[in-house]
């Protein structure tokens, strides 16, 4: 407990003690707000640059810094000063509030995702379920936003998003179950600690594949970007968003991309473990960027699949593979093959 100051002379040490406390630093600076805003802004630039390089273009260049790295700043300033157009007869309250709720939902999972042994905001016992619970609220917010725009393309996009995210949530949960069984805990810090000798991608390779496909669908990335299919639906469920509302939605989407990449790193790629010449958070971020790259690259390569194929893959193939994988993992654990790595 910090003593609340009573005399004016105590106020400055009080403020300093708050700012230098571990709670404040983890909340506001490192895994917290500042880091998240910078990371999601950087990801927009990274995606544009990467796609441009794959397609033999140059990409952002003139905004300043090496390779136009200040492009997100320019975009942000531009979008803030643009007019916010709210469609005729749209639901104004929901149309303006849902983007903020989406940003909130995008940042919330980082409260339990560890970036290092001590670099975690809340070491929660049910961390993994917390992350899944917060991500499961996304689709309902998206469909409400799509409904509030009062326009047909956003509504179709929102319905598609709902179908897709609800269908792929279940295999995602079940494929993460084998990691929980291997680590024997739902605590994300404990899950990473259990990977000190062997990353879970090796004993649970099949669940990694299922999980990766599911997060591609959850993030509405190609080949699963039906909710924002440009040739059919203009821009999908955020067609009517403009100015600051558009920026808020994009921030939420890139936060979700960063969150899913970090979650993959924590669950399958050994989290902060790596050679000790770099600090732990750096290893987490390097692996996260590798996963994010793997998520982004298909956008430049693959066409999108049809709705019926998408639903069929989700409900009949992935679900069954994920369920079968639970039993495979049980057999692997009970056979004692992994005892050499302390599992």
């Amino acid at each position: 407990m910090v003593n609340v100051p009573t005399t004016p002379a105590d106020i400055l040490p009080f403020i300093i003690s708050i700012i230098t406390s571990h709670t404040f630093i983890t909340l506001v600076i490192f895994p917290g707000m500042i880091h998240l805003m910078l990371a999601s802004a950087f990801l927009t630039w990274y995606e544009r640059k990467l796609l441009a390089r794959i397609q033999l273009r140059i990409g952002p260049l003139y905004a300043g810094g090496p390779g136009g790295i200040l492009q997100p700043v320019a975009d942000g300033v531009k979008l803030i000063f643009k007019e916010v157009i709210i469609p005729y007869k749209a639901d104004r309250t929901l149309f303006t509030w849902i983007p903020l709720v989406l940003i909130f939902l995008g940042t919330l999972p980082f409260a339990v995702i560890p970036f290092g042994m001590n670099w975690v905001i809340a070491n929660l016992d049910v961390g993994l379920v917390f992350v899944f619970a917060t991500t499961s609220v996304f689709p309902s917010m998206i469909i409400i936003f799509a409904w509030a725009s009062n326009s047909k393309y956003p509504f179709i996009g929102g319905l598609r998003s709902l179908f897709q995210q609800v269908a792929y949530e279940i295999p995602m949960w079940i494929s993460a179950l084998s990691v929980v069984m291997l680590a024997g805990s739902l605590n994300l810090v404990d899950i990473v600690k259990a990977q000190s000798k062997i990353w879970f991608i090796i004993p649970a390779f099949l669940s990694f594949i299922v999980f990766f496909i599911c997060i591609m669908a959850e993030l509405e990335r190609l080949p699963f970007d039906l909710p924002e299919a440009e040739p059919e639906l203009v821009a999908g469920w955020y067609t009517e968003a403009s100015g600051a509302i558009f920026m808020a939605l994009f921030l939420a989407l890139y936060l979700k991309l960063y969150m899913m990449s970090t979650l993959t790193t924590v669950l399958f790629l050994g989290g902060w473990w790596g050679p000790s010449f770099l600090p732990q958070p750096v290893w987490t971020i390097i692996k996260t960027m590798a996963v994010a790259t793997a998520i982004i690259i298909p956008r430049a390569i693959y066409p999108r699949i049809r709705v019926d194929m998408l639903i069929k893959i989700g409900w009949t193939r992935l679900l069954i593979i994920a369920l079968a994988n639970v039993f495979i993992t049980l057999l692997v654990i009970n056979s004692g093959v992994l005892s050499a790595w302390g599992l």
Binding site: H22, V129, V137, S140, I143, G184
Partner: protein, 172 residues
């Protein structure tokens, strides 16, 4: 240096209950059904907060994931697909008195339950608290102390899953 939260648990309880009850009333009274569904979601989140207050974080998380993440989605889906066209004017439904009567009955019920609890509460034999179970202890307890309900639940859920798969796989 850690900064502990200096909020009394009673205040948290009162705030959570107020949010839950107000959102539940709004869910019934909202003219626009979408707002009703959102209020229902907020009410579920309030109940999840109450679970956290009762030292059951796992239950709270599943409450959010299942009720807010799935049940509210189902309700929204039904509202959007079955009801009026998007953007059409809201049609006034029924008499305003019906909802008010429901509120009165609910209020009377709440007051009578509170009265009963106030009368009978001090006279009840006090049972020692069961102790807080962590998530990892939950599994062994389910398997050793409650195997029959667990098996019945598992059968029910598998039947539901297989039924859903059969419905989805109907040949056209």
């Amino acid at each position: 240096m850690e900064i502990a939260l200096a909020v009394p648990p009673d205040a948290v309880f009162i705030v959570l209950t107020t949010i839950t009850l107000l959102a539940a009333i709004l869910a019934l009274q909202a003219k626009e059904l979408i707002y009703g569904a959102i209020a229902l979601g907020i009410s579920f989140i309030g109940i999840a907060g109450l679970f956290i207050l009762l030292d059951a974080p796992y239950l709270a998380m599943l409450q959010i994931a299942i009720y807010v993440g799935a049940v509210v989605v189902l309700i929204l889906f039904t509202i959007m697909l079955v009801r009026r066209e998007v953007g059409e004017e809201v049609v006034e439904r029924g008499e305003r008195g019906e909802g008010a009567a429901g509120l009165w009955i609910a209020g009377l019920l709440a007051v009578s339950i509170a009265g009963l609890a106030a009368l009978a509460g001090p006279n009840l034999a006090s049972t020692p608290p069961a102790g807080v179970l962590s998530v990892s202890e939950l599994g062994p307890v389910l398997v050793t102390d409650y195997p029959v309900p667990l098996v019945i639940l598992a059968l029910l859920l598998s039947a539901a899953l297989l039924g859903a798969l059969m419905l989805a796989k109907v040949e056209r």
